[in-house]
Each structure stands twice: as C-alpha cells, then as structure tokens.
C-alpha cells in the first residue's frame, strides 16, 4: 500500500461493491483473477496428466472422472478462465505494438474481449454438455 499524507480526504472505497470500474478496468482485474485461478489449476492438470499416462486403468479413470457433472463444471470454469486470460492477454500484447492504446480503441477492444468471452462460454458449454 502506498503511504501518503498529502490527500487526507481522498475517497478510499475499501467496500469493493462501491468501486465502479470502467470496462478496461474490469478486463484488467479479471485478467489477474483468471491468471491466479489458472495457477491454482496446475496441480489438477498435473494429477490428471500423470494418471492418464500411467496405464490404461488410469486413462479410463480420468475419462470417467471428466464425464462427471461436478468435474465438468470445474473444467468449464478452468477453460473459461483460460479463454478470458488468452483474449485479454492478446489485447495487452497488442498494446505493446501500439495497437489499441488510445482510449476509444482501448475501450472497444475491452468490449471485444467480453464478446469473445461470451462466444467461448457458449462453445465450452456446448462441448461439455
């Protein structure tokens, strides 16, 4: 946290519900949240990969496990996090080559990320169900 005694009366919205982020801010913070979720998903990926490659019994256990409704929901959340992290990440990479840096195009690209998210959600749901 930054320590500053200059602006003592500045608004400090520690109540998260009172913070109203612009669309660019939403894409930014959800990029971080999805990134953290993806890091936390690594042990599950490692476990599934190890078991599926161990022997035929392990492979069948993994495919059966992946067909369970609860696993499908978790997998769906993981895949959607991956999709969002990828789309928002491409937007940030384009910033590096000076594409979409100005405010109107930055906002439009952020909305485009949301559109891609919705498409990905429909695709993931269709694939899993």
């Amino acid at each position: 946290m930054m320590k500053s005694g200059v602006y003592k009366d500045r608004p400090r919205y520690l109540n998260l519900l009172k913070i109203k982020l612009p669309i660019t801010g939403i894409v930014s913070i959800t990029h971080r949240i999805s990134g953290i979720m993806l890091i936390l998903s690594i042990p599950f990926c490692a476990y599934l990969l190890e078991m599926s490659l161990h022997n035929a019994v392990g492979f069948n256990t993994v495919t059966q496990q992946l067909a369970q409704p609860l696993t499908k929901v978790i997998l769906g959340i993981g895949l959607w996090s991956l999709a969002h992290h990828l789309f928002a990440g491409v937007r940030f990479l384009l910033f590096d080559i000076d594409v979409g840096v100005r405010k109107p195009s930055a906002r439009m690209a952020a909305w485009l990320v949301i559109v891609f998210d919705v498409v990905a959600l429909v695709a993931i749901a269709g694939w899993l169900l």
Binding site: R32, G35, I39, I42, A46, L49, F59, L86, L93
Partner: protein
C-alpha cells in the same frame, strides 16, 4: 534501460512465454477437439512423439516462468508487509517449481 536491472528481461520473458502458451494452447485444443485420443495407447503414443513431447515440456516451462512473473506482480502489488510478501513469494515460487518438476517427470518418463 538495462537488460538485467530494469525489469526489461522480465517484461520480454512474460511476453515470449505468453505467445508460446497461446500458440500451444490453440494447437492442443484443436487436437483435442478434432482428433481426441479414444484410448490409452493413442494418448500415450501422441505424448511420446518427440516433437509433441518437447512442445509439452516447453509449454509447462513457459507456464512456470509466466506464472511466476504473474504471481510475483500480483503479490508485490497487494502484499505490502515485507515479511508476508517474502513468505508469499517463497511459497508461490516453491509451488511453481514443484509443479513444473512434477510435470517434467511425467512427460520425460513417457517420452524416454
């Protein structure tokens, strides 16, 4: 700007790993949707193919590097207390090293 001190190396590594992860992810998803392995032998043989095996190893190494830079940025932004920050960074680093070594072991045992 210095390559070692100014964070340029970190910046470049984050971007390079991002591009590799993106390309590999698309390759993996396309394979799983178009030509999903139906049994153990098919799955194992695909992962054991030298190029695929190397591509997987590079992917998890990139995940380790990219995940470390991301976790480091998030922890440094939100954890102010030096002791807590040190602990959080240590745990995140240990976790990622552990995960990458585990995945490497699995992939190398199949590929060897």
């Amino acid at each position: 700007m210095s390559w070692r001190g100014g964070g340029v190396r970190t910046f470049v590594m984050q971007r390079l790993t991002a591009v590799y992860i993106a390309i590999f992810t698309i390759f993996f998803v396309v394979h799983m949707v178009s030509d999903a392995p139906v049994n153990y032998d098919q799955w194992r043989m695909w992962i054991a193919t030298p190029l695929v095996n190397i591509a997987f190893l590079c992917f998890w190494l990139s995940i380790g590097i990219h995940g470390w830079i991301g976790a480091r940025d998030v922890i440094m932004d939100y954890v102010g207390d030096t002791g807590t920050r040190f602990l959080a960074l240590s745990l995140a680093g240990l976790f990622l090293v552990f995960m990458v070594l585990w995945l490497f072991k699995t992939l190398i045992m199949v590929g060897a």
